[in-house]
């Protein structure tokens, strides 16, 4: 076949994306964060973990601290740079968990239907009965506070959304002729799911991954802020804010910069995700 419709479809999307200013802005922000994460050792002016108690709470530009120092005399600028690594990794792993488990559940549920569907969707409904952050807090409190457990908790909490989206897609795809044809040709269920149905669900998955990434960064920062996520001395943005309340009267820079980093990175993913949704899946729009 000389003509591959899928290629042109994705190319089409790319052209649309180039037209969407806010999506491009989002992509640029994400790109900047990825670059910062990779180049942190080069860009950082200090070791993010080295303390200098005698220079604690230095103002921005004072004593060689670009964005000031925290209450242990650590460089806030360097910690924010390294924090980009942590947040990107947390987001990736958490989304990885939600995506894998959620997709598997959604595929099985949609493909087989029947009792399995009722059970899985029942479980999904129950999970959605808990407010997002509350469920994450409870899971972490059971597993114990740590970076890994926070990622697992955020990953688990994100499963139901993926499961629902995939199931809806599978239900729609299942009725298509090509599925009927392949089935009659004796293609195995697994092959059918993985090779035929799943690729056709890519659009909503990509959108959900991008938006979910933003949510994961926010949630992990919130968990660390509460002392339930990353543990000291790791330079994580939420953790950097955990003791910041004590400085609202005396050291604004300790309070301000890590939050700006969180906001910007989340905004980047949301802008991009929003743009993608407009292009790939207009039906999902709000």
């Amino acid at each position: 076949m000389p003509f591959n419709p899928e290629n042109t479809l994705w190319y089409d999307h790319w052209l649309q994306l180039k037209q969407n200013r806010s999506a491009l802005l989002g992509l640029a922000i994400i790109g900047a964060f990825v670059v910062v994460a990779f180049l942190a050792p080069v860009l950082a002016t200090h070791d993010p973990l080295v303390q200098n108690v005698s220079l604690r709470l230095s103002k921005p530009f004072e004593n060689g601290y670009l964005l000031g120092s925290d209450d242990f005399g650590r460089d806030i600028f360097s910690r924010i740079l390294y924090g980009a690594r942590i947040s990107l990794v947390i987001g990736a792993i958490a989304i990885g968990i939600s995506l894998t488990v959620g997709t598997a559940l959604g595929l099985i549920s949609g493909f087989y239907g029947g009792t399995l569907d009722v059970l899985i969707m029942g479980l999904v409904d129950v999970m959605l009965a808990f407010p997002y952050i509350l469920l994450a807090i409870v899971i972490v409190s059971i597993l114990g506070p740590s970076l890994n457990n926070a990622m697992i908790a955020i990953g688990i909490v994100g499963i139901p959304r993926f499961a629902r989206i995939i199931r809806a897609q599978v239900l729609a795809e299942k009725e298509n002729d090509y599925v009927m044809v392949e089935r009659s040709l004796g293609t195995s269920d697994l092959e059918l799911m993985m090779v035929s149905i799943l690729p056709n669900c890519m659009a909503p998955i990509i959108v959900q991954v991008t938006l979910g990434y933003a949510g994961a960064i926010l949630s992990s920062a919130a968990l660390s802020f509460l002392g339930l996520g990353t543990q000291p001395p790791t330079p994580e943005w939420g953790l950097m804010l955990a003791s910041a309340k004590q400085f609202v009267a005396s050291a604004w820079w300790v309070v301000t910069f890590p939050g700006v980093a969180i906001l910007l990175s989340v905004l980047g993913f949301n802008l991009f995700g929003d743009g993608l949704r407009d292009i790939l899946d207009p039906r999902l729009k709000d």
Binding site: Y132, V138, S141, L218, A222, K245
Partner: protein
């Protein structure tokens, strides 16, 4: 209608059963022995053993589960380890504070959100539209706990306009009857002609309410805008316009009424989130609501409290969402039940 509501309520039962089951087994995995925690650090093994027996912890897990189901069925969620009080009482005594905060913040976000949405929609693709929608996206991306800190830093420490936390100036000695302080304070205006109670309660609620309103505000603005745009494209709006009605009448009388249907759903959902998920805001503003209570139960490993608290909050969350659905069905003539 009644049939519809009954059906939805019946459908709720398996969900709630699932909630109780999941929470029970999740918490049974939690480290920490409730008996030990109840007795304090230096209790003897014998005392712990006796307490375990009293709490039924020495029985097999499935028996414990069945017993818990029986208890929950009659709204007995056990007693908090930390305080020795029934969990239900503990939670209900903190609920008014959370409801008050959620109501005020949802009022703020509804008014401003709908307004912003309408303005954006009526000036589609203008700079105002673009700016408002960008702001809304910033709002959705906002780490609320950080915003709360910034609000405190700027408005309560820097400008000295608002207090940093709490519900009312303690020196006023308000004797709250309803536990909804704003309501109680209105009573003082009538009874004593004294506005200071109301002003103090208002001053205390503004910052946390604004912090909590950010995300709903942004979401409501976005939904209002897209819903408006969709409605404006409908035939009957075109007809209205064709009839020569003024743009104002068209927008506010015809379009808005229909466009608000999905917005109401969103408001309800966001209200549910606020009721149940205000942990961080309540924590930062020392707001004595259920979020803060549950968080401190989590950190103290008060297992019965967490167990009961999470179940109850989930129930409230589900019921609010159900109420929204029913209300939506009620006002939307297109849905047949």
């Amino acid at each position: 209608m009644i049939k519809y509501i009954t059906k939805r309520l019946i459908l709720l039962i398996p969900t709630l059963f699932g909630v109780v089951t999941i929470v029970f087994f999740m918490m049974s995995l939690a480290p920490g022995d409730p008996a030990r925690l109840a007795l304090g650090a230096h209790a003897t093994p014998e005392a712990v053993e006796a307490m375990r027996h009293e709490l039924g912890l020495d029985r097999p897990l499935h028996i414990q589960y069945l017993n818990y189901l029986k208890q929950v069925a009659v709204f007995d969620f056990g007693k908090s380890i930390k305080t020795g009080e029934p969990v239900l009482y503990e939670l209900l005594s903190r609920f008014p504070a959370t409801i008050e905060l959620s109501v005020v913040s949802i009022i703020i976000s509804t008014i401003l959100g709908i307004l912003a949405g309408i303005i954006s929609a009526t000036r589609q693709n203008s700079m105002i539209d673009f700016g408002a929608m960008f702001a809304a996206l910033v709002g959705v991306s906002m780490p609320v706990f950080w915003l709360a800190l910034i609000l405190i830093m700027v408005f309560s420490v820097g400008l000295n306009l608002f207090p940093t936390g709490g519900r009312i100036n303690i020196r006023l000695f308000m004797d709250p009857l309803t536990q909804f302080y704003l309501l109680d304070a209105i009573v003082y205006i009538f009874r004593e002609g004294d506005f200071s109670y109301f002003l103090s309660a208002l001053k205390h609620i503004i910052l946390p309410a604004v912090a909590l309103a950010t995300i709903p505000l942004a979401v409501i603005a976005r939904v209002t805008r897209s819903s408006m745009l969709e409605v404006v494209r409908q035939d009957y709006i075109r007809t209205a316009r064709a009839k020569g009605l003024s743009e104002r009448t068209v927008i506010y009388k015809h379009a808005l009424r229909n466009a608000l249907l999905p917005v109401i759903t969103i408001i309800g959902i966001e209200f549910g989130y606020n009721l149940a998920g205000a942990v961080l805001t309540e924590e930062i503003f020392s707001w004595p609501g259920i979020g803060r209570w549950l968080y401190s139960a989590v950190t103290a490993r008060d297992i019965p409290a967490v167990q009961g608290g999470v179940i109850l909050i989930a129930v409230v969350f589900v019921l609010v969402n159900l109420a929204v659905d029913i209300f939506y069905a009620y006002i939307n003539p297109k849905i047949r039940y």
